[in-house]
Amino acid sequence: MTSDKTSRTSHTAAQATVRVNANVPAGPTAAIVLHGMWRRGEGKFSIIVLGLWLIVAFVSLFWTPQPLLATDGYHVWATPSAAHWLGTDGTGADVLSWLMAGSRTNLLIVVLTVLFAAAFGLLLVAAMVARNGTLAGASVVVVDALISIPTVLLALILAVPLGASVTVIVVACGFGYGLNLARVARPAALLAARSSYVEAALASGASGWWTFVRHIVPNTLPVLLVQLSLSAGTAVLAESGLTYLGIGVPSGVPSWGHSLATSVKFINVYPLTVLWPGLIVTVVVVALNVFGDVLRDAVDPMVNAELRDGAAGADCDGGTLSDPLRAARPSHTVGQRTAVSVRGTADTDVAGRRSA
């Protein structure tokens, strides 16, 4: 019986998880992971870009080169100058200031979207791997049916009662990406849910939710990381598209999409203004897309040797760091390549981003 072997390793894994979380401080691990990311060119790039983003977003709360509200009707569409490094827009406001301030709106959107997608996706995963067969079956059907509805369509419908708002972007994207997440993470979660250590946990009186959070979610972590960082990138793209269509960030709120959309109208006469916001979006999206990949590898002891070494050290404290992740790795890869899983990835990558 092969299942004997799996259940035994999984068992230790499960126990290890508990111990790790109890004893090992997060600090050193985070440093190791960060270092693991930094060593790769891509990682460096994404850390720098995302770090800059955070800094600029923070700084813009207190300072921008010009006040956001400083419009000047007599100097619209000015070319770059000492006072306005990137020129002015159609209201005479400073383009650079708006882009800086836009970074915090985009940050907010990305964070909220990712949280929404993660929460919604995991909720669906929980339903899909539920012990209750009817619930599980029904949720699979629902996900299958809903996943084909494009984000833009959803956003269009949402925008009508809500008007243009950050909520529209967050809910439409979070909903769509959550569905994708659920679909992609389901095989790994299913495998974990059917393992005997989960059964053991349940048998020993742990609640269903506790078991899900404790034992099943960690097993989907690699998928989760990549999927969520992709979602983050797609959310940035979606923001620019939806705002251009008039159903994203409302007027008067700075965002990269806003800067892009307002300059579009005047490309014939003032083509330069359109360059900057697009450039920023592209660079940030590349960084976000790369980030998940690099992070997945950095937290994977099979790839990140340092983490392995660190884990060996941590072992002395009585916890094996690597075990849960080792257990996680095979489980996400075992997911059968069914039509379903292919669809899942296709939806995220090609379809999801199309909403932009």
Binding site: V160, V184, P250, G252, T333, V334, T345
Partner: protein
């Protein structure tokens, strides 16, 4: 360190052992089951679905083919082109001018396809059309219209006094669009022998003639049946030969036209270009010969190329009305409303839009009766504005939050600019840009707003300020009295004087700020002549337009 396996985004990618496992499994299965067994019927199912889908798809596309693809007649080197293509902005969704609101229909159909009992010229004055002359009784209650002879509709039917009275009576009976502007009409009677139509009123109305130049005065063929949403049968110099909703209208000269405004160009194609850049490119590349309107800020390539293009701004009755809800929680405070009016720098707004528009200090634009320059009432004065806000209890440290609701068709710039200007006097303006239909519901119908912004392009529309149920919520008995007197006036001078007095009262009360009088800028390729510049967003007679290469 191995390269990350699989491209990012391919979260479900398998690793070696997984693929191997499935391969093993499949090999095993292949050994057990005959390979071709289960797939043939699967293919059949797919084939059936695909064929069905294609069949449905083809059926959907089919009706499209009946739209005739008559290739555009390319002008053959001659001097005067037989086709002129015009780029306009706001497209009609259908041709049903009796039921569907919107100036797009007035613009393209009135004077071109349909004709009214009377018409108006480019100075907004009433001129003869189907009626060649008219008499007005002393008391202003009876109008007798003498019609032209031998008039015909484009389908060959004769246009008689009967058609005229039928059209107006139908409008009133069925409450077609604008019917309420004829609420004082008691009867409309035709006399076929004398070739006259007599309109009797219950109360005198100095606006009647002007009203009849618009939709209420249009004459339809009472014997014709056609789908009014996609076709139009009128007596004007042009007929609609092809209509693509939201996209284009092709007008052909009406061979049965009876009057003096005979079309000079055989075919006029009207292309609706909602996107400003696309519009500019269309003019640049010669796809259209005229562009009305062109965004002033985008006109510079044409203004600087006067050898090939002419750019001209025309007068219009478009008023960008920023209304303050007079019964709103905060805007009912006159000091707040006045402060806003002082705070707005109209010249700056106009400059940022390219400079063609005109400052407007009150509800009546220069082309309407009762106009008077009222811009002096509330000049830009930030100090005064701040003082008023202070009095009302607000300052930049303790700002008053107000919401501006307006339709997305006007762009986001105006909202941003107003927000910036009002922030200086202690108003935190939230800008809510919505769909026009949402604006109609929330602001116009439910009157649920603080500040609204809309382009009121109607002419002779002062009644809005005399109607306390209108969305402005403006209720001033004196204004209502003056307006009633103006309407009942039997001489134009008297009317104009009363209207001017009322308009000044309104402006002083500051129930709104009139941001500017939008002047439409039109650009055309040199060689085009006869294209109206004034009022051309509501009234666009095309009979005189020619294009000489």
């Amino acid at each position: 360190m191995s390269e990350p396996n699989g491209a990012h985004g391919n979260a479900g990618a398998t690793t070696d052992n997984a693929t191997a496992a499935t391969t093993d499994a499949s090999l095993e299965n292949r050994a057990k089951t005959p390979n071709h067994g289960p797939t043939w019927w699967l293919w059949t199912v797919i084939a059936v679905i695909v064929v069905a889908a294609i069949a449905i798809g083809v059926n959907l596309v089919k009706p499209k083919t009946d739209a005739q693809g008559n290739p555009s007649t390319v002008e053959t080197g001659g001097k005067t082109a037989d086709t002129v293509t015009i780029g306009l902005k706001l497209a009609p969704t259908n041709l049903d001018i009796r039921n569907t609101s919107g100036s797009a229909l007035d613009q393209i159909l009135i004077g071109n396809v349909y004709e009214g009992l009377v018409a108006r010229d480019e100075n907004n004055q009433v001129t003869p059309a189907i009626a060649k002359s008219w008499d007005e009784s002393k008391d202003g209650l009876t109008y007798t219209f003498h019609l032209n002879e031998n008039m015909t509709f484009s389908n060959g039917d004769a246009l008689t006094a009967e058609d005229v009275s039928w059209s107006i009576n139908q409008l009133i009976k069925n409450q077609y669009h604008d019917a309420d502007s004829l609420s004082m009409v008691k009867s409309v009677a035709a006399d076929d022998n004398a070739n006259t139509v007599t309109i009797t009123l219950s109360t005198a109305n100095s606006n009647l003639l002007w009203t009849l130049t618009g939709r209420p005065g249009l004459v339809f063929d009472k014997d014709a049946t056609y789908d009014a949403k996609t076709e139009a049968i009128g007596s004007g110099p042009y007929t609609v030969s092809k209509f693509v909703a939201n996209d284009s209208i092709t007008l052909k000269a009406n061979p049965k036209y009876w009057g003096t405004h005979k079309a000079k160009t055989q075919t006029v194609i009207v292309k609706y270009l909602a996107d400003d850049n696309a519009a500019v490119n269309a003019l640049k590349s010669g796809d259209v010969q005229v562009l009305a309107p062109i965004t002033e800020n985008l006109a510079s390539p044409f203004t600087s190329d006067s050898e090939h293009y002419t750019v001209k701004a025309g007068d219009d009755t478009d008023k960008y009305v920023m209304a303050f809800n007079s019964k709103g929680k905060n805007t009912s405070d006159k000091r707040v409303r006045q402060a806003i009016r002082y705070a707005i720098d109209h010249d700056e707004l106009i400059a940022s839009r390219g400079g063609a528009d005109k400052a407007l200090g009150g509800p009546i634009p220069s082309l309407d009766p009762g106009y008077e320059d009222l811009t002096g009432l509330y000049p830009h004065d930030e100090a005064k504005a701040k003082a008023l806000m202070q009095e009302a209890g607000y300052s930049t440290d303790k700002p008053l939050t107000l919401t501006l609701t307006y339709a997305n068709i006007y762009g986001t710039e105006l909202g941003d600019q107003l927000r910036s200007q009002l922030a200086r006097i202690g108003i935190d303006l939230k800008v809510n840009v919505v769909e026009f239909s949402t604006w109609l519901q929330d602001v116009y119908t439910n009157k649920d707003y603080d500040i609204s912004l809309v382009d009121h392009n109607e002419s002779h529309d002062f009644y809005q300020w005399a109607d306390p149920t209108y969305y402005y919520n403006y209720d001033n008995a004196e204004v209502q009295k003056l307006y009633a007197q103006a309407i009942a006036a039997t001489s134009d001078d008297q009317r104009d004087e009363l209207l001017a007095k009322a308009a000044k009262l309104v402006s002083e009360d500051a129930p709104a700020d009139w941001l500017f009088n939008y002047r439409v800028t039109t650009a055309w390729a040199n060689g085009v002549s006869g294209f109206p510049v004034n009022l051309n967003q509501t009234l666009l007679p095309l009979y005189d337009v020619t294009y000489t290469k």
